[in-house]
Structures are given as C-alpha cells and as structure tokens.
C-alpha cells in the first residue's frame, strides 16, 4: 500500500493553493477565450517544480516518487477548468515521458529541461483526421534526406497546438505497415512548413486550445528522433500509460470535488418541505459514486505503487483510465441532474464540468480502446 508522508501532504497544499490562486480566478476568462496563457502559467509551475516531478534531477526534474505525481493530478482535477488541467498534463505526462525515457542527452538538454522549467510549451501529436483510436493507421510521413527528416501530413486534436514550442510527433518513417516503421520526432513549431491550420471549437475543455496542424515539407534534423528510429509506436504505447494515469488521477480529484459540492448543494436546496438531500434516492445514488470513487482511488494507489517499484503497469493504467473516466462522467450527469435548472446554466459549475468530464472517455484512448486492450489481455477474443 502507498505510504503518505508529511511531505506529500504539504505538496498537496502547495498544488491546491496554486490552483486556487493562479488558475481558478482566471478560469472563466480562459474558458471564454478558448485558451489560456500556457507560457505564463507554466513558468510559474516550473519554478515550483511541478512540471517534472518524477523526472531526473539532471534535467531539472524533482526525482520524486510517482505518489507526488498522483497528488498533482488529483489536485489539478479539482481546478475550475479541466481543460487547463488537461493541457498541464500534456506537458507533464503526455508529450515529455518518451523524451525523458528514450531521448538523447542533447535532446533532453535542449527540449526536456525547458519543458520542465516551464519555459517551453509542448504538445503530443499522434492523432490524425483519419486515425485516432487506430494509431497504427497514421499517415504523416517523415522521409530522410541526408541528415534531415522531411515531414508531410496533418495532425488533429492537438492540445495546446496553437501555442506550443515543440511537438512530440509520431510519424511513419519507413514503408513497413502497421505497428512498424514509425518514429517519434521532436518538431519545433518555428520550423518552416509547419502551420496551425485551425483552432477547433469544442464541446468542452474550452479553457485549452486544440488545433489541427499541418506539415508541408517540414525539415528537422534526424538527430531530433527520440530513441530508436522505427520504434516510435512502441515508445508511444509506453508514453500512453503515463497519459492514462494522469487522466485517472485527475478524474478521481474531479469526481471527489463534484460529489462534495453536489452534496453541499442538496443540503441547502429545499423542496417538498425538506432539504433535497433528505431524499434517499439522491443519498444512495451519491453513496454509490462514493463507493466507486474509493475503488478508483485505491486502484490508482496500486498502480502508483507498481510505478514506484519500477514495474509495468499497462493493465492497471488501462483499467484506471476506463473506470475513472466513466465514474467522472456519471458524477457529472448526476451533478447536472440534481442541480436541476441550475445544473443547466453557466452560472454554476456543473454545466462546464458536464462538458469537460465527457472528454476522458474519448481522449487518451476511448473507453472501447481500453476495453479492447483488456479483452486481449484477458484472452477474451473471438478468433
């Protein structure tokens, strides 16, 4: 089981205070504008050491255990704009883990260190208009010309895409089909031929900008390849595990807060002569969420313990992401329902939460993709 120290608790306070002072007061304005000033916010986070907790101190990281990461995630999940929380976790757990794990020292010095310091904003560019769940179906191609890659293609749904400094791009680098012949390449966004084709207008996560990106004969050095050329798919699959866990930590924090706030509301709101919370139907449905929240939280602990021991946690991350996302959206649905009309207007938090929480059953691998992975792991296959 996980052990929590005074340091963990103090760290939780730091993140909670940070969210309360540096994010929440701006959340409405950022949601309105469809973006947030990533460089400004990240540099503050970098100074507090929040962007590279588990990374090697050599690159400016904190060298911490994964428990700190979980606490960061849970607390970010409590912020008033889950879109901003998502963009932060792209920086910490989606665009940088592969670089940290497999990158050359030169690349880590040039791109990881400033990402950890919050001086550079990063994006993960995997999905494409015609390939999201099926990562092996990507078409963006990098062709070697001397010591350069020449990149052509389109990436879709890229978080922070309108403001990032570099992308961790997954591209085809050989003609082998399927899972083979892909590489992860760092593409600085000031590379000629790179452009933001459009900023997407989304249902939720509106505090974070999401873009479609286009690559037209973009040239970057072959030395920008992360790890081994041709191993991009496998490296990305490993990176996805961090992504799934940070989503699961966030949804535990987010669900807990939504549950607590809904209970508070129902205590105050009177109908039929008593507080709405006196109604057993409401009590029990929320108690069910509380029960599942415990399971999700404790499942995260098991996963973190495995990560702390350096063990593979693919299975645990798959379950965690699936279940925490689903519980989050169920809680969001209950929050809207039990707030009645107030759940349906922008004056209170449930409307935004309802839109935002919906994302995590799609992003980072849809629920069905998690189920597909689990079915295979459990030998539940039809052939």
């Amino acid at each position: 089981m996980l052990e929590f120290t005074e340091g963990h608790e103090m760290f939780r306070n730091t993140v909670r205070e940070f969210v309360g002072k540096e994010i929440d007061p701006h959340a409405d304005a950022w949601e309105e504008s469809g973006s947030f000033p990533a460089r400004e916010l990240f540099s503050k986070m970098g100074q507090l050491g929040l962007l590279g907790l588990t990374y090697d101190e050599r690159w400016g990281g904190g060298g911490s255990d994964t428990t700190y990461k979980m606490i960061l995630g849970e607390e970010l999940g409590r912020c008033a704009s889950l879109g901003v929380a998502m963009a932060i976790s792209v920086q910490t757990d989606m665009a940088t883990p592969a670089l940290h794990r497999y990158g050359s020292d030169e690349l880590r010095e040039k791109y990881l260190r400033p990402a950890i310091a919050g001086e550079m904003v990063t994006s993960i560019a995997v999905s494409e208009p015609d390939a999201g769940s099926d990562v092996a179906g990507i078409r963006t191609r990098a062709v070697q010309d001397g010591d350069e890659w020449v990149i052509n293609g389109t990436k879709m749904w890229i978080t922070s895409g309108t403001q990032s400094d570099w992308l961790c791009l997954l591209a085809r680098t050989s003609d082998e089909g399927g899972y083979r012949g892909m590489s992860q390449i760092i593409v600085p966004t000031d590379t000629p031929g790179f452009s933001v084709s459009r900023k997407l207008d989304k249902l939720g996560m509106r505090g974070s900008d999401t873009a479609e990106l286009s690559f037209d004969d973009c040239r970057v050095p072959v030395s920008n390849t992360i790890g081994e050329p041709g191993r991009g798919f496998q490296q990305q699959m490993a990176q996805f595990q961090d992504e799934r866990m940070i989503a699961a930590y966030q949804m535990v924090g987010a669900t807990e807060l939504a549950l607590q706030r809904t209970v508070e509301y129902l205590k105050e709101r009177v109908a039929f002569g008593s507080p709405l919370l006196a109604n057993q139907h409401l009590q029990y449905s929320l108690a069910e969420v509380a029960a599942e929240l415990d399971l999700n939280r404790h499942h995260n602990w098991v996963t973190v313990a495995k990560a702390n021991r350096g063990e593979d946690f693919t299975r645990e991350a798959t379950v965690a992401k699936l279940c925490a996302a689903r519980l989050g959206r169920r809680m969001a649905d209950l929050a809207v329902q039990y707030h009645g009309g107030m759940g349906y207007v922008e004056e209170l938090w449930p409307a935004r939460f309802f839109r935002d929480a919906r994302l995590w059953s799609i992003g980072g691998g849809a629920d069905e993709v998690m189920l597909r992975t689990l079915a295979r792991m459990n030998g539940i296959i039809g052939d």
Binding site: G7, M10, F11, N13, T14, L48, G49, L53, G62, S64
Partner: protein, 260 residues
C-alpha cells in the same frame, strides 16, 4: 543577515476543533499548521536575506506535543532551521509567559539582526507578545510593518496607520511585527518540501532555556480567563432591491451609520 521569525502553530482555522470548557482555551491536541499571519513574516524575512545576499532565516516556535507541522511548511518556504520549545509545563501560558519563553528561544537561535513576528496570532489574538519580547530582550520594538528594509545597522520600516504609513527606524537588532497581507507568501516548492525534511529543528524544554517552570504555564500565568461564550450569531443583512434608485438607498444607509 540573520533573521529570526517567531511562528505560531495553530489548529487549522478551516477545522478548528473545540474549546476546552475546563481550561477555557482552544484544544491543541489536533494537528497544527502554520498560522497564516506568520507566513507574511516568513516571506519578508526570506526576502530580506535574499536582498542582503547572505545569512539565514531561523524560526522560533512554542507548541505542545513536539509539533512541527507548521514549522515544516515555513522550512519548505526557505527558512534554514528552527528552535521548537515543547514542554508540558507550558500548557496554560499567558502572553507574558509565552514572551519569556520566546525571548530565551530567540537567544538560543543565535545572533540575529532582526526579529520578526506577526502583529497577533489568529487563534489567541492578544497582540501583545511582540512588544513583550522586545522589552524582555531590551530591544527596540516597531509594530505594524508593511515594509522592512535593513541598511547598515538600521532597520527602516513603513508602519501602517489608518491614513497611510509612518516612516520609522531603529538600530538593529530590533523586534518588528508585520501586518498580515502585506506580501504574497511564496508557495513551498517541491524542492523546498524535499529539503525541509532534513532541516534541523532544535527541540528544547523550558529547563533547557534556563527558565523556571513556575514562571510559565498555568503556574506562572498572571492572567485568568474567567468565562468563554459563543460569539453572537450574525444578524441577517438587509437586501436592497435595485429599482433604479438602489444606489440612493445604499448612500442613505451609509449616512445613517455615519460612515459617510
């Protein structure tokens, strides 16, 4: 430059626990945290040491049960070390008893150019400890600082007043109390939190400080709390409907209160 900051560790105001009907004081057997009023002094001290380009910030605290929760927070913000006085004999200490202990603990903390305190604690609110410490130590006392600068052997303070501030100065070392809210206390960073774990906390008893137990605690208290009572419930406010003349009603109301 070396600065000593007196910090109190108090029950979390968000979850303050209860008053003990026998002792008529706040129960302190819960987990204690850094009094927010003191976080401003810690921040100021850290800034002063930064500006001076050397030296360190030492914390001094008196708390039951060897409590270090609040000290660790201030250490994580950047203080270098702490002196903690924890002794059963201290239970029931009044403001003067507390000041006697803190004055001795400050001496134990080593040479200091400046001693910083809050103007009052958030749980006790006597607001007399800083001046008593100064008197006991034979040092100048400046209260209600909104900014502090140390130049040579002089501390220059902007002392908050109702109208603005007074410029006052005193030779160092001096005891300066800092008004809450005048600086933005830093968040303990991840590195700060890690480093705080191994920073030294020198825990001492009353005897270690050369104080006779009869001088402090219930035994030494010259002040007795006779009665405690719950604060009166706040009365419901008045709601002014704005029918286009809302401002006039507010102006009239303020005039009635003689505020304007």
């Amino acid at each position: 430059m070396n600065v000593v900051v007196c910090v109190k560790q108090i029950p979390d105001p968000a979850d303050p626990g209860a008053l003990d009907p026998n002792t008529k004081t706040l129960k302190r057997d819960v987990k204690l945290i850094l009094d927010e009023s003191d976080s401003y002094g810690v921040e100021m001290a850290l800034q002063l040491v930064d500006t001076a380009g050397g030296g360190e910030v030492t914390l001094v605290s008196m708390a039951p049960n060897s409590e270090v929760g609040g000290l660790r927070t201030a250490l994580a913000m950047g203080a270098a070390k702490a002196v903690l006085v924890s002794d059963e004999a201290l239970a029931g200490s009044d403001a003067l008893g507390t000041s006697k202990v803190l004055a001795k603990a400050i001496e134990r903390a080593g040479e200091a150019d400046l001693i910083i305190t809050a103007t009052e604690s958030s749980d006790g609110y006597t607001g007399t400890v800083p001046e008593q410490i100064a008197e006991l130590m034979g040092l100048p006392s400046i209260t209600f600082a909104k900014s502090i600068a140390v130049e040579g052997g002089t501390v220059k303070v902007q002392r908050q007043t109702e109208a603005g501030y007074d410029d006052v100065e005193a030779p160092t070392p001096a005891v300066v109390s800092v008004t809450a809210g005048v600086v933005e206390p830093r968040y303990p960073s991840f590195k700060g939190i890690m480093a705080a774990k191994s920073k030294p906390v020198d825990e001492v008893t009353v005897a270690d400080l050369g104080i006779d137990a009869s001088q402090v605690g219930w035994a030494g208290a010259g002040q007795e709390i006779l009665e405690i009572a719950a604060a009166e419930e706040r009365e419901a406010g008045t709601i002014v409907e704005d029918d286009g003349e809302g401002f006039q009603k507010i102006v009239d109301y303020l005039a009635e209160l003689k505020v304007i």
